[in-house]
C-alpha cells in the first residue's frame, strides 16, 4: 500500500546563542518514516527530543532545513493549501489554549464548516456539526452557545477533535493530546482514537511521551531522542522487546501501577540537554550503560534487526 505521508531524511537546524557564540542544534536529524492509510503511528520521546518540531514541519508551520516531506498526492493547482489542510488536521496539547476564552466554542465549528464550504446553509452545518460531535460523545445541544470556560479540559479536547473531524481528514496529527487531562478522561480520548482508526479508517500520528497509551493504541512507533529516531517498528516489538539501550531505559522508567514492580536500580540524569544535542557520536553515549569507545566518536548507522530499525553500534556488524 502506498504511504499517506512519507518523511525522507528530514533535518531541522536551529541556531542558539548570541552573535558572539553561536551554536547550531539539529532539532531533527535525518529522520525518515512513513505513515500508511488507516494506521496509528506514534512518535514518542521525552521533551526536547524533536517530536513537536517534526509535527510542525509536517503541518507546514516550519520549513525543513534538508530533506523532503511527501504527501500521497498533490492537490489541485492554486488550491494546494486548502486541499492540504482538509486532509491533514491537527489537535494540540492544551485544550484551554486551543480556544479563545472570549469566543463561543461553536463558532470555531461553524468557521471550519464554512471555510471549507462543507455545508450550504446553517441548518446543514448544524447537522454536520452535530454528527461529528456525537462521534466524540457530545452533541450540538450541549455545545451551542457556550464559552470554553463552561467545559472541562476533556470536553474541550473532544470538541477540538470533533472540529478536526469536520473535514474528514485522512490523517489526524495529535500532539500530546492527553498530557493535560486526567487519567479517567485520558483513556476515553485514547479509546476514541482507537475507534477513529477502526471505524473510519483514519490514520493518526500520535505524538506523546506516554508509552503506556502508545502501547495500548498499537500500530507503529518511533522512539526519538535528541533529534534522532533511535528505534522504530511495531509497537509490540519495540516496547516489549526493546533493543536500543535508550528504549530500554524509557521502558523501565515508566511507573507501572503495580507495587510489586518498584524501581530498584539507580539512574543518572543529564544536567543540560543541549550538551547532548551537540554530542558528536551517538547522542545517548553520555548516559548509556553499554557505551563503547566508538559510540563517542561516531554516530551509528540505522540497521534493521528483527524487522525493527535500530540506530545503535551494538547492532552494527563490526
Amino acid at each position: 500500500m502506498k504511504a499517506l505521508l512519507e518523511v525522507k531524511q528530514v533535518s531541522k537546524e536551529f541556531v542558539i546563542g548570541n552573535i558572539l557564540s553561536r551554536e547550531k542544534i539539529l532539532a531533527v536529524d535525518q529522520v525518515s518514516f512513513e505513515i500508511k492509510a488507516s494506521e496509528i503511528f506514534t512518535l514518542a520521546g521525552e521533551s526536547g527530543c524533536g517530536k513537536t518540531t517534526m509535527a510542525r514541519m509536517i503541518l507546514g508551520f516550519e520549513e525543513p532545513t534538508a530533506g523532503e516531506i511527501m504527501y500521497s498526492k498533490e492537490g489541485p493547482k492554486g488550491e494546494k493549501k486548502v486541499w492540504f489542510t482538509q486532509g491533514f488536521q491537527a489537535i494540540f496539547q492544551n485544550p484551554f489554549e486551543t480556544f479563545n476564552p472570549l469566543r463561543k466554542v461553536d463558532s470555531y465549528l461553524f468557521e471550519t464548516v464554512f471555510n471549507y464550504k462543507l455545508a450550504a446553509d446553517r441548518d446543514e452545518a448544524i447537522g454536520l456539526i452535530d454528527s461529528k460531535l456525537r462521534s466524540v460523545g457530545l452533541s450540538y445541544d450541549e455545545v451551542s452557545g457556550k464559552y470554553p470556560s463552561e467545559f472541562s479540559g476533556g470536553q474541550l479536547q473532544r470538541i477540538s477533535i470533533a472540529r478536526a473531524l469536520l473535514t474528514d481528514p485522512a490523517l489526524l496529527i495529535a500532539d500530546e493530546p492527553v498530557s493535560m487531562v486526567d487519567a479517567s478522561i485520558r483513556m476515553s480520548i485514547v479509546n476514541l482514537f482507537k475507534s477513529l482508526k477502526e471505524d473510519l479508517g483514519m490514520s493518526i500520528l500520535y505524538i506523546t511521551h506516554d508509552l503506556a497509551t502508545a502501547y495500548y493504541l498499537g500500530g507503529q512507533i518511533a522512539i526519538m531522542f535528541r533529534g534522532n529516531i533511535m528505534e522504530m517498528g511495531n509497537v509490540e516489538k519495540v516496547l516489549m522487546e526493546p533493543k536500543h539501550p535508550y528504549t530500554k531505559l524509557l521502558r523501565e522508567s515508566i511507573p507501572e501501577a503495580d507495587p510489586s514492580r518498584r524501581w530498584k536500580d539507580k539512574i543518572t540524569i543529564t544536567e543540560l540537554e543541549h550538551e547532548e544535542y551537540l554530542r558528536k557520536g551517538c547522542k545517548f553515549a553520555g548516559r548509556c550503560p553499554e557505551v563503547m569507545e566508538k559510540c563517542k566518536a561516531q554516530a551509528p548507522e540505522t540497521v534493521i534487526v528483527d524487522d525493527v530499525y535500530v540506530k545503535c553500534h551494538l547492532y552494527c556488524s563490526a
Partner: protein
Amino acid sequence: MENNASYVLKTRNLKAYYILDDLGKKKTVKAVDDVNLEIRKNEIYGIAGESGCGKTTLMKTLYALLKPPLRLIDGKVLYYRDGEEMDIYALDNEERRKLRWEYIAYIPQGAMSIFNPVLKIKETYRDFLDSHLSGKTRDEIFEIAREHIRQLGLPLKVLDSYPHQLSGGMRQRVAIALAALLKPAVIFADEPTTALDVVVQRGVVQLLNEIQDGLENTIILVTHDMGIHANITDRLAIMYAGKIIEEGNTDEIFDNPLHPYTKYLINSLPRFGDRGSRVSAPGNPPSLANLPGGCSFHPRCPHKMDICEKKIPELNDQGNGHKAACWLLNGGEGKDEGTS
C-alpha cells in the same frame, strides 16, 4: 485513645471550604469535607485523585496556608512533636513560622519555578539558611549547602548556576533538596513529578526515596499518577469530591481495590503486555460547588443503590486497616460480590 507516639499528623473532621460571593449569591465549594487522616512516622503516604478533587486544598489546609476565600470551617490539624500535641491553627504566627520548614516542609506544585531568576542557586540556599539558622558565616552556610547537595547525589555545579541554566528536572530536584535541608519530620510534596519526563520523574522519585531513607521522616505525596503511587508510597488514600473514599496499604489497594471509583482508577490504566480494552469511569467528576446528594460518586457508579442517593457512606475499616466508604461494603451485602 491509642498511643500517639507512632503518629506525626492527625486530622479530625477537617473541613475547608471556599466561600465565594457570586453576584450576591453565596457559593460554597466543599474542597475538603470531613477528612480524618492518621499519618505515621517514617512512611510515605500518598494521596491520589483527579484534578479538582481537593487534594491540593487538603495539602494547604494541613500546612495552614489558608487564604480567603478558602476558610477552615471545622476540625483540627494536629502535629506531634517530641510527644507533644500541637494544633497548628492554635499557634501564633511566630510559632507557626518555626514549625514550618524545621518540622514541616511544603514543596508546592510547579516547585521548579520558585527560584529567583537573578540569583545563583547558592544564594537561594543562603537566603533560606540565614532566616532559619542564625549566627553562621557566609562560608559556613555554603559549606552546609555543598554538603547537603553532595549527600543527595546532585552535581555540585548546580550551586553556582542560575536557575535558567538548569533543566526543569534538575530545578525540581534542587527545590525538593531545599525542602529537606532542615531535616523536617514531615515533607508535603504536591505533584512533584507532574510535567516531567519519565526518566526525570524516576530521578525525582529516587531523590524522594533517598531523603526518606536518610531522614526516616514522613513524606506526604500528592499526585494523580497512580504509577508513581504504586512505585513509592507505603500507604495510599484515594480522594474523590473532597472526601477520602478509600485508604490502606498501597499493595493492598492495588491488589484489591474496594470502592468502585478506585477500581476504575486502577483498572483503566493501560498496561504493557495486555492490550485488552480499558474502560474509564463514565461521565465527569462533579463540581465541588454543586455536589450530588448522598455518595458523590453515585451518578457515575455502575452499582448504584437507592441508599447511595440519600446517605453519605462512612469510611469504615474493612479489615487490615483497609478502609473504604461505599454502601456496597457498609450495607453488609454484596461484600463478596466479584465486581470488576
